[in-house]
């Protein structure tokens, strides 16, 4: 694997919607490079013929009837932590321009 670079950290931060201070970039770079180097231990493992596991108890595509039920809480209550609302809807900043 290629070594992690300063540009990689900046790109990952941008993709993650996190702004990093200049002073933070170097420490993230050295810490993450060390962590990535450690997990690369797996590259040498022979996993021929094995499928990846994402779910451990064998449940897949759990379905239910497409019906509503009364959850017991008014929509207004569920909105009480929203920073900005208008008529019980979430108000966000302008997206374009």
């Amino acid at each position: 694997m290629a070594d992690l670079t300063r540009d990689d950290i900046l790109k990952l931060a941008r993709l993650s919607r996190i702004d990093l201070e200049d002073s933070e970039v170097a420490s993230y770079l050295s810490e993450m490079a060390e962590i990535i180097k450690y997990v690369e231990l797996l590259q040498s493992v022979d996993t021929t013929g094995l499928a990846p596991t994402a779910q451990v108890t064998g449940l897949t595509n759990v379905m239910r009837e497409d019906e509503t039920w009364d959850y017991g809480y008014p929509a207004h209550d569920l909105m009480k932590n929203v920073p900005a609302t208008e008529k019980d809807q979430i108000r966000v900043k302008r997206m374009i321009g």
Binding site: D8, E31, I35, Y38, L42, V45, A54, T57, R64, P83
Partner: protein
């Protein structure tokens, strides 16, 4: 362990009989919390709501009504459980001020059985950590030695139980976050089979391994709490079919049980004092009739690397919901939506959350997905197969919970990888989704050491039965 509290069953029966008042129990718990504040185990109390619930329960008893198997029993929830009566912060700045609009299923079920939540316990922010030093608010101290960490991430919950703040506490375990603090503080910490308890209303960390479980003084208490919390929930589609009532029928007997000692967990690098306690515990199991032999699971040394790919990948996905728009911290001065997202996240998240988000983003990115994430999930299959093979030969597997007892506060904070290595003996269980429990196995230089006992998926009742029997030998 001596305690001001009786067993949860005894407390509940005395409340039901009118011999103890729920209101007195709540006051006792709140008084203990105030008295032991210097340990910083508690973020906030839910005192007002707890008192009013206690009054209701006492009134029901006076009225001749049946309250439940946990009637009047106070408990403490890790602060990543949605609970009424106090903020739910997950010990993170970004969730400061969050007022739960509904309660977690686990807490709802405990309340329905008469239990009373009195406080929220400290944790590593978003449960990211192994020492509770990564809380955005404060560092919890180990009750046995306040210069040391309580372990993490359920460090506040484990400390709360050992400090007698309440008869039991709730934790979450994603890579060892119940078992490790239980081991470091000297509590019982039980991580159930994946899917046994609903995670609805609990702040998500890594969804393919997150589980909920109790921290208690005794295995019996853990079983009673589980009999209430476990079971399918339509609000969490990963919950599995089970029969929670079986937890009330532990049948602890070691005679004839096949116990495998995990070779990889007893190898070099294990602290001599920890080794001595674990070997002594295993010897006692053998004396009581267990058939003990060594077993090797050769892929175990790979588990931590697989975990620290899978966990940050899932963390990066789960934490994407903190965007400053729907709840949590929001940067109000932003010019546009994009700036609002990034400023809210940059100011709101702590360093470890950001680190895990970026590692997760890296291992999931298109050029690296196969090499990291898919590879880790395939190594996970290998681990699961080795556990399955081991459980064809053995009823239970045993080993330490961690390579050392509790370390000093500040000892590992400068080196994230060193901190991750604390989880080296707990993450494999999480990746395989099997149940495991940490029970106190004595002290090494005055510090608690936990014995980890593991069982095959869904053998939770058998696991707690043998843990109870073993625990009695270690008192």
């Amino acid at each position: 362990m001596s305690s001001v509290w009786m067993s949860v069953t005894k407390i509940a029966s005395k409340v039901q009989a009118g011999e103890l008042k729920a209101t007195e129990l709540v006051e006792q718990s709140l008084a203990m919390i105030a008295e032991k504040d210097e340990y910083r185990a508690i973020i906030a109390t839910t005192s007002e709501r707890a008192r009013s619930r206690a009054t209701e329960i006492d009134a029901k008893v006076a009225n001749g009504e049946t309250v439940g198997v946990l009637a009047g029993v106070p408990f403490i929830a890790k602060d990543n459980f949605l609970v009424f009566g106090a903020e739910t912060t997950a010990a993170s700045n970004i969730l400061k001020g969050f007022d739960a609009p509904y309660q977690s299923t686990a807490v709802e079920r405990l309340e329905a059985a008469g239990a009373i939540c009195v406080a929220k316990a400290n944790l590593d922010a978003f449960a990211h950590g192994s020492s509770t030093e990564n809380s955005d608010f404060m560092v919890t101290k180990n009750p046995v030695d306040p210069t040391r960490v309580p372990g993490g991430s359920s460090g506040g919950s484990a400390a709360a139980v050992v400090l007698d703040l309440a008869p039991f506490a709730l934790g979450t375990d994603t890579g060892g976050s119940i078992r490790l603090p239980a081991s470091f503080c000297g509590a019982v910490g039980y991580k159930p089979t994946y899917g046994l308890v609903s995670r609805s209303g609990v702040v998500a960390m890594a969804s393919s391994t997150d589980v909920i479980g109790p921290l208690t003084r005794t295995v019996e208490d853990a079983a009673v709490v589980m009999s209430v919390m476990a079971g399918k929930d339509r609000l969490d589609s990963t919950t599995i079919d089970s029969t929670p009532a079986e937890f009330l029928e532990l049948t602890g007997e070691l005679k004839g049980k096949k116990v495998g000692v995990i070779k990889e967990y007893m190898s070099e690098g294990l602290d001599a004092g920890v080794r001595a306690r674990i070997e002594a515990a295993i010897a006692k199991m053998e004396e009581a009739g267990a058939l003990v032999s060594e077993i090797s699971l050769p892929s175990l040394p790979l588990a931590l690397a697989a975990y620290y790919i899978i966990c940050p990948a899932e963390v990066s996905s789960n934490l994407s919901r903190y965007d400053g728009q729907r709840y949590g911290y929001t940067y109000t001065e932003a010019e546009n939506l994009s700036e609002s997202f990034s400023k809210s996240r940059s100011i709101g998240f702590g360093k470890e959350a950001k680190r895990r988000i970026m590692i997760g983003t890296y291992v999931l990115s298109s050029g690296y997905y196969d090499a990291y994430y898919k590879k880790a999930q395939t190594v996970r299959t290998k681990l699961i197969q080795e556990f399955q093979g081991a459980f064809e030969q053995f009823d239970f597997l045993v080993g330490p919970v961690a390579p050392t007892p509790a370390f000093k506060i500040g000892e590992n904070t400068a080196d994230p990888l060193q901190m991750y290595l604390t989880d080296i003996m707990t993450v494999a269980v999480s990746l395989a989704g099997i149940p495991a429990v940490s029970i106190p196995a004595g002290l090494s230089d005055g510090l608690p050491v936990g014995l980890q006992i593991m069982a095959a998926q869904r053998k939770d009742k058998e696991l707690l039965s043998v843990a109870q029997a073993t625990g009695e030998l270690l008192v």
